[in-house]
């Protein structure tokens, strides 16, 4: 006999579908993902206690008899370790190539020590399929740092033959992505690109060879920054023609060194700028100096007198009007 006051049992949501643990496979778009052991152990302890509360998001790939994990690889690893025969899943429709890549980028953070080229190639697929090329938008879409997106796009700018060099199976022969990322500003410098002798492939090949053989003073990939700096300074000193000619010689000959790109006028300009800044700082400190507080600091006053004499002599030598 049912008591009229008895409440009906609460409605429970339907239980999620469960499937054998070994019918799942990790998402192949990010096989290099590594999970830190400590959080995994914490999750494993939790699953031992209460089971897998949040079903894994999976899909059946075309032609496959297995489920591919979109989200929940940590739970799946723990289930395997514990020996759970089944895991709960939410099966969704198979994502498109672009959707899958975006999802994987968002779930798995890129590790700093990973080869960047495979990531760049996938970003290339996204750019093509989504017709989206803006760094910030791609960063939002993928969860990759804007800096990583920018680096990947620099790699994609290089022709396919250089992508192959970055994907060489032999680590000794594989060219580091950083080499191309550092080279990019030189090969794309506006003054360089409009030079009548400029040939993109010849220049890239020459730089690769010089870097590999350590000729022309190349020691590290960061040496390209020196070249860029020389280009910028020469442009400021209105010595563009001269620096571009020297760069042509550097590309063509191993007898020309990176340091040879430094143009005297540009060097003087650079040193003058640096000295002006330093003098400005010293002047500000002298202005702020309280004579009463430092009255007993004889050494300081003597040095100031020396400075004044040196300034007068230098101004006279430079035929500046007396102040």
């Amino acid at each position: 006999m049912v008591d009229d006051a008895t409440q009906p049992a609460p409605l429970l949501p339907p239980k999620p579908q469960t499937v054998p643990t070994d019918s799942l496979r990790p998402n192949p778009h990010n096989p290099r993902v590594l999970f830190d052991e400590e959080p995994l152990q914490t999750l494993e302890a939790s699953i031992r206690k209460v089971g897998i509360l949040v079903p894994l998001t999976v899909y059946k790939a075309t032609g496959s008899d297995k489920f591919t994990i979109l989200d929940g690889q940590r739970r799946w690893i723990c289930a395997g370790r514990i020996g759970l025969a089944e895991v709960p899943i939410n099966a969704v429709t198979e994502p498109s190539l672009a959707q899958n890549i975006v999802t994987m980028f968002q779930i798995h953070k890129l590790r700093k020590d990973w080869e960047l080229m495979p990531t760049a190639l996938k970003l290339g697929v996204l750019i093509e399929q989504l017709d989206e090329n803006r760094d910030a938008a791609l960063s939002d879409l993928t969860g990759l740092d804007v800096a990583v997106v920018t680096r990947c796009k620099k790699l994609l700018w290089f022709d396919g033959e250089y992508h192959d060099l970055m994907l060489d199976p032999e680590p000794r022969n594989r060219l580091n992505a950083d080499l191309f990322i550092e080279m990019y500003p030189i090969v794309n410098d506006r003054s360089v690109r409009k030079a009548d002798w400029f040939d993109k492939k010849s220049m890239i090949d020459a730089f690769i060879r010089k870097y590999q053989e350590k000729t022309s003073g190349f020691k590290a990939v960061t040496d390209f920054r020196k070249i860029k700096s020389y280009l910028t300074l020469a442009r400021k000193a209105e010595k563009e023609t001269e620096i571009i000619e020297r760069l042509r010689q550097l590309v063509a000959s191993d007898d020309v060194e990176i340091a040879d790109l430094e143009i005297e006028a540009a060097r003087i300009r650079r040193e003058a700028e640096s000295l002006t800044k330093q003098l400005g700082r010293v002047r500000a400190e002298i202005d702020a100096l309280d004579p009463d507080s430092f009255a007993a600091e004889e050494g300081l006053w003597e040095e100031l007198e020396n400075l004044l004499r040196a300034l007068r002599d230098k101004l006279a030598n430079a035929e500046r009007r007396a102040i």
């Binding site: 591919t68 396919g160 192959d164 060489d168």
Partner: protein, 280 residues
């Protein structure tokens, strides 16, 4: 493979005429086959007491001819499940990738593979891609990617590269690695540490490593002498790269896993099967 016993050399000779004739015949499949003068020059590098050992090494050399390589590639592909040149019988999409960048053995082997399988015409061009092309192919479990190379000695290169390959394939596409030859060590490493389906007509057991205990053809004393000469030929890897100690010679290039006394080419040592035709 060790040949039949030939007449011993006469006093003062580096090798008998019959030995020399036998070697010249067996080695003519190499791209630049050694002649009698170069073999004698090589034998002359050994101390007199080591001449029998040098003869034994030459007897042990395995030369794989270009024809054998072609036949191997042909039969390997024909036996892959789902492959057919007929679109009616072919299952899924197929892509062939030379392992390595330009200048590496893979792309060079790809040319042989195409010839061997009659896939050289323009209409098959879309089947041949490089690793960088893989992400945009939207591969699925119905597709097949066949990586082509010539030889794996230790398997470490393929094992180390597999995560990158896997990420570029990024699907359940079936991945094959077609080789001309492989050592059992490499085959075990590749099979256990990658998802590549390895196919290689020639499998070299541990007995083909002259330094391995399974090899009965060379005594400990022989091995010590081979290693000592190997130090002159290649100081870093006197037993061959990754200590593989092989006597394998592929018609287009001797693997660096073979004994360096067979393939070095520099002022201090010139082997009968140099990897570089012009001395370093």
């Amino acid at each position: 493979m060790a040949g039949t016993q030939a007449a011993a050399p006469a006093d003062g000779e580096l090798a008998s005429a019959s030995q020399m004739a036998k070697w010249l015949e067996r080695f003519r499949a190499y791209r630049q086959p050694p002649d009698a003068a170069s073999l004698e020059a090589w034998l002359g590098r050994f101390e007199r007491r080591h001449l029998p050992l040098a003869h034994k090494i030459l007897d042990a050399v395995i030369v794989v001819s270009e024809l054998e390589i072609h036949q191997g590639y042909k039969s390997s592909l024909e036996n892959l499940e789902g492959w057919s040149k007929s679109s009616q019988e072919r299952v899924g999409r197929w892509f062939f990738v030379g392992v390595g960048s330009a200048g590496e053995s893979g792309p060079a082997m790809l040319r042989m593979f195409r010839e061997a399988n009659g896939l050289t015409s323009e209409r098959w061009q879309g089947y041949f891609v490089t690793t960088k092309d893989l992400p945009r192919l939207a591969l699925s479990a119905l597709d097949n990617v066949v990586f082509i190379d010539d030889f794996a000695g230790s398997g470490s290169q393929m094992v180390g590269y597999w995560p990158v390959m896997e990420e570029l394939v990024a699907s359940e596409a079936t991945c094959y690695l077609l080789l001309t030859a492989v050592t059992t060590t490499a085959a075990e490493a590749i099979s256990s540490q990658t998802e590549l389906n390895l196919v290689a007509p020639i499998v070299l057991g541990h007995d083909k490593n002259v330094f391995h205990e399974a090899c009965r053809d060379f005594s400990e004393e022989d091995c010590a002498a081979i290693e000592a000469y190997g130090q002159i030929a290649w100081r870093s890897w006197p037993r061959g790269f990754q200590h593989c100690g092989l006597t394998l010679v592929l018609s287009h290039k001797t693997p660096n896993n073979s004994l360096p006394i067979l393939h070095a080419n520099h002022a201090a040592w010139v082997g009968p099967f140099p990897r570089t035709l012009i001395a370093a």
